[in-house]
């Protein structure tokens, strides 16, 4: 063992409260007190590891320092991916940092040049929720969540995929919470507090699993931190400060039954920090010794207020090593290198120590594969499902496959080199804006900058933006930009007011309210696109109706559904779309000569205007880029072309109109008697004929919260209970396409099978119906709590639902998207039969036969083209190389024909 105290790692003498080594081992972070603020510093690791690098002046020691915390930083933690750094401090905040790659090094203005930040780390999220100092933060395995604990007695679980969303606040401690640790398998999180208890919480429902108090009965709240740790094999949880026979200990808690029979004894003062080595070890096999396989064991470092450090192996009864008086003050934090052989320790005295072990001392570390096998055998699942190492032993049987694999490797290499090239040119990228160099900009800045006067006569300069930040913010903006235009604001509105509708007395008010909002929308809000137009309205079921018959003023048959009907207005305007700008104006009862009252319909499309008159009052209107239609009194429906030409003689509806909709050449009419019709006015055919909503609205106080008509003329009803049904004209059935409460969606985890960020934003009717709520947090939540087999089943079922729903909606784009995700999941998880079935269907008969019922296209997509897209996906798993070859060959045969 070697011991080193790198004196250059310091906060100018101020205490260092936390240290954490980056997962890639090249750098580490320290957190603590700064001059007048909290301070986070990122240091280069190589000068710690190598003396030559320490002496080399060209190798920077400090990479970046951040003074942004207003008060002392108590904890710094890298995410498992190494992408983010989280810091928590006395200012009640947690800041999440990300490295900005394309903004070059910069100095702090006004300071001497030497203090330049070599790396740029910027705060991408500030997490505000705690009402007191944040004492510890911890990333869950796989970085799905970030947990933080505070002197406000709570633990907060943040959705690390979607900061600053809070998934849960764990309440139960009655004292300052000073330490956190995740179960390596992800089933639990443990916290230790000054209230003399250690609590274990379930990640399944974020409820308390157990509270352990006995070993802490004698403890006083005397330590600054209580950093506990969970062993990498998941068997043991080791607490910080505990007492046994009035001696300070670190309590060992067994996962099995939360038994507290063992402890680490020997420190003279309270234990502040325990940290398990991330590796599991086995005895080094000595030449000639008996080949008896030894039990794997873990290694744990314990730091104490008595300024000493002890390192233990779980296979030994005594500590491996104890170092006394390593510091002048209490040890505050410990971090192991990922290879498990090095350890950084920091102290309140403001210094840091590095210990370097050899493999002879600790043992042979198990590979990640072996570790995951231990998890698999103990907990029935493993975090790494299929490792690269397992694959590499498979034999490649086919030259095509080999070629494909090579090509893929080459691509990866290319991407890497491209990425490094980009990094290399980072500064030059930053120096150029819109093809103009920074120098050019500077020359003309004064001329270019816009100067205006405010209302009170003051000068106002609009600054010139010279670089955008590559932080999370920008990604969010991108997401916003990529949002399809079809997705209107109103769809989110209607989500919000999914009515509860429990008490019928409430529903009356609600009804009025909703009708009002519908009308407001029609009049006021500009529609961005006419193709898909969700409109919210409420439908009342008989149960609610009887309670308020007088309110409705309609003598409805007792058992029939009744939808609200629009009341006649003097005049109204409806914006159909803003790009191209198109709006409809209606004026009812315009008196023409001779006392004849007519109604006027005006339509303005990009400045071109037409108008026409109707003999009865117009109740409601709708338009699309192809047609304009209006529903009048006396149940009349008229349809006009975009130039105002009447396309059909008035249609007589079976009952008064409730809602009217147009998409493309499709017109949808929902009547007050809850029947639905859709016509294609160009082809002059009926798509849906007076279909009753009775089957989907049957039962309790359900209302329709949103109506959608897809480009293929498929009507979709979103109901208040979160379910969405679409009418399938070919089968004449209502099909369930979405369910907000779908437990499958919550359990399914297919993130690894998603293609890429932008493809995830697959747009279309299905996406609109289901909303874009990313429940990856919830998905992940289930990932750790559900056995893997169940997880697989739910994911499969969910993905199959999605594929089928996209098919029913005839949304080809989405069908392709979900089919690819599904196939990728099948490939990743190794489901051969289903994959084979898909391929078979896509391929069709290779040899022509008259009896074949096979369709060569599906929702407008050529099946064989889809199969070609699937092939590279299939090729990713060597297990399917035969399937890959088969399909490839048959496609080749077909192509040659």
């Amino acid at each position: 063992m070697k011991l080193l105290k790198p004196t250059w790692v310091n906060h100018n003498g101020k205490p260092i409260f936390s240290v954490d080594i980056h997962p890639d081992g090249t750098k580490f972070a320290t957190g603590g007190q700064g001059q007048d603020s909290g301070k986070v510093v990122i240091w280069n690791m190589s000068p710690v590891l190598q003396e030559d690098d320490e002496k080399d002046e060209n190798i920077p020691k400090m990479l970046c320092q951040m003074d942004n915390h207003l008060a002392c930083v108590n904890c710094v933690r890298w995410s498992n991916s190494g992408m983010y750094l989280a810091s928590g401090g006395d200012d009640k905040l947690i800041m999440v940092w990300k490295r900005a790659t394309y903004i070059g090094p910069s100095t702090v203005f006004g300071s001497s040049g030497k203090l330049a930040n070599v790396e740029q780390w910027r705060c991408v999220s500030i997490l505000r929720n705690h009402s007191g100092d944040v004492m510890d933060v911890a990333w869950s395995p796989h970085d799905a969540w970030l947990a933080s604990c505070s002197v406000d007695n709570t633990v907060v679980i943040w959705n690390a995929v979607k900061f600053p969303e809070i998934l849960a606040t764990l309440r139960g401690h009655s004292g300052l919470v000073k330490g956190l640790t995740w179960d390596p398998v992800g089933k639990y999180i443990a916290s230790q507090a000054d209230d003399r208890s250690l609590k274990v919480w379930r990640t399944l429902d974020w409820q308390l699993e157990t509270s352990i108090t006995k070993p802490f009965d004698e403890c006083g709240g005397t330590t600054h931190v209580l950093r506990l740790s969970w062993s990498p094999d998941g068997h043991y949880l080791v607490s910080a400060h505990a007492m046994n026979n009035s001696g300070p200990t670190a309590q060992i808690i067994e996962r099995e039954g939360w038994k507290t029979n063992m402890d680490f004894v020997g420190h003279r003062k309270a234990v502040t920090v325990v940290k398990f080595n991330p590796k599991i070890f086995k005895k080094k096999q000595k030449n000639g010794s008996s080949a008896k396989p030894s039990c794997p064991y873990c290694c744990c470092a314990v730091g104490s207020k008595d300024r000493s450090l002890s390192v233990w192996l779980t296979c030994l009864k005594r500590p491996l090593v104890v170092i006394h008086e390593l510091f002048d003050k209490s040890i505050m934090d410990i971090s192991w290198t990922l290879n498990g052989l090095g350890i950084l320790v920091c102290s309140m005295d403001g210094s840091v120590a590095f210990l370097d072990f050899s493999q002879d001392e600790l043992g042979d570390p198990l590979s990640e594969e072996e570790k995951s096998r231990i998890h698999q055998s103990t907990y029935g699942k493993s975090l790494a499902i299929m490792t690269e190492a397992q694959l590499s032993t498979a034999v490649i049987e086919n030259p095509e496959m080999l070629k494909y694999q090579r090509r893929q490797q080459q691509q990866q290499l290319d991407q890497k080199s491209a990425a490094t090239r980009e990094m290399g040119s980072a500064t030059s990228v930053a120096g150029v804006v819109n093809g103009e160099s920074l120098e050019d900009i500077r020359k003309n800045l004064l001329k270019k900058q816009v100067e205006t006067r405010t209302a009170d006569g003051r000068r106002r300069i609009t600054p010139l933006c010279i670089a955008q930040l590559d932080t999370g913010l920008k990604e969010q903006n991108l997401v916003k930009e990529l949002r399809p235009r079809d997705l209107l604001e109103s769809s989110s509105d209607s989500d919000e007011k999914v009515p509860l509708a429990k008490a019928s007395s409430l529903s009356k008010r609600k009804l009025e309210l909703e009708v009002e909002t519908v009308e407001k929308k029609k009049k006021g809000r500009p529609r961005k696109d006419s193709r898909l137009m969700p409109v919210s309205l409420s439908v009342q079921s008989p149960a609610a109706l009887t309670a308020e018959k007088e309110a409705m003023c309609l003598s409805a048959p007792a058992l029939a559904l009744k939808l609200p009907i629009p009341s006649p207005q003097r005049a109204f305007t409806l914006q159909v779309s803003s790009d191209p700008s198109m709006y409809i104006e209606v004026e009812n009862e315009v008196t023409v000569v001779g006392g004849v009252k007519l109604s006027r319909l005006k339509c303005n499309r990009e400045g071109k205007e037409w108008e026409t008159v109707l003999t009865s009052r117009i109740l409601t209107a709708a338009g699309s880029c192809d047609v304009v239609c209006v529903a009048c009194e006396k149940r009349m429906l008229s349809v006009f072309s975009t130039c105002g030409r009447r396309l059909l003689s008035p249609i007589l509806l079976p009952s008064p109109i409730s809602t009217l909709h147009c998409t493309g050449s499709y017109v949808m009419a929902l009547t007050a008697a809850a029947t639905l019709s859709v016509w294609d006015v160009h082809r002059q055919v009926v798509v849906v004929k007076e279909e009753s909503l009775h089957s989907i609205l049957a039962g309790s106080d359900m209302t329709v919260s949103q109506i959608l008509l897809t480009q293929h003329g498929i009507p979709v009803m979103n109901l208040s209970d979160g379910k969405a049904y679409c009418f399938n004209p070919s089968l004449s059935t209502w099909n369930l396409v979405s369910d907000k409460q779908d437990s499958l969606a919550q359990c399914a985890d297919f993130r690894s099978s998603l293609p890429s960020q932008d493809a995830m934003l697959c747009s279309g009717p299905l996406a609109i119906i289901q909303g874009r709520t990313s429940n990856s947090g919830r998905q992940a939540a289930r990932l750790f709590s559900v056995p893997h087999v169940v997880q697989q089943e739910t994911t499969l079922a969910y993905l199959e639902n999605q594929v089928a729903a996209a098919l029913t909606l005839q949304s080809s784009h989405e069908y392709r998207h979900w089919l690819l995700v599904y196939a990728r999941y099948l490939v990743n998880e190794g489901f051969e039969y289903r994959l084979r079935e898909i391929c078979k269907d896509l391929l069709g008969p290779v040899h022509y036969s008259t009896g074949s019922q096979w369709e060569s296209t599906v929702v407008g997509l050529r099946k064989r083209e889809l199969l070609k897209e699937l092939l590279p996906v299939i090729g990713q798993n060597l297990r399917f190389q035969r399937l890959f070859t088969e399909c490839q060959e048959q496609l080749d045969i077909l192509r040659d024909k």
């Binding site: 006004g110 300071s111 300069i461 010139l464 933006c465 930040l469 932080t471």
Partner: protein
């Protein structure tokens, strides 16, 4: 944390004739889009002892400020100062103050040796000591809802000390024993 950090203040056309306008090219970085404008001021420090003699020479609003790096030129016609401060405030709270010494001297060595009783402005050259700005940062409340914070975030690191504001001879400049002793004999204070 501060939403705006000043990356650089470049003094343009320096040195320049006495009567030419001041031009500061200011680049700053904003981490989160600001709801309101920033207010930049150029202040003449009349007396080292008291803020009472501070004169705002010019002020300008800068906005809108989305997240990113931005740049603008702050130009003002003020002349004849010896110490100039550039400050920036958000919602009326000052979060950064940059101070420069200004040296006004005759170009002509003869005039420099024997300055005329009545200053000859046409001959004077103004030199802002741009390489040595004094930067002080303050914590402010960037949101509307939080309590005001009044701690000083950092002071000039080259001085390596944390002198509280009210002890420094020039407010915020953090340099003890200032103008009269430091400025050359022939420098002018013309206001």
């Amino acid at each position: 944390m501060a939403k705006v950090s000043v990356l650089n203040v470049a003094v343009l056309e320096n040195p320049s004739p006495f009567h030419s306008p001041f031009r500061f090219e200011i680049s700053f970085e904003c981490s989160e889009a600001l709801a309101d404008d920033l207010e930049w001021k150029i202040i003449y420090v009349g007396s080292a002892e008291s803020e009472e003699f501070d004169q705002i020479l010019d002020s300008v609003l800068v906005g809108p400020v989305p997240a990113g790096r931005h740049m603008f030129v702050f130009q003002t016609d003020a002349v004849g100062v010896t110490v100039v401060l550039i400050t920036c405030t958000y919602h009326g709270q000052e979060f950064i103050r940059v101070g420069y010494y200004v040296n006004n001297e005759y170009l002509n060595p003869e005039l420099r040796e024997n300055p005329p009783m009545k200053p000859d402005f046409s001959q004077l050259q103004r030199n802002i000591l741009a390489s040595n700005p004094r930067v002080t940062r303050f914590h402010i409340n960037w949101d509307n809802n939080m309590d005001r914070l009044e701690a000083i975030e950092t002071q000039d690191p080259s001085l390596g000390c944390g002198l509280p504001l009210n002890c420094t001879p020039i407010k915020g400049l953090g340099l003890p024993g200032c103008i009269p002793g430091l400025l050359p004999e022939n420098s002018m204070d013309c206001i």
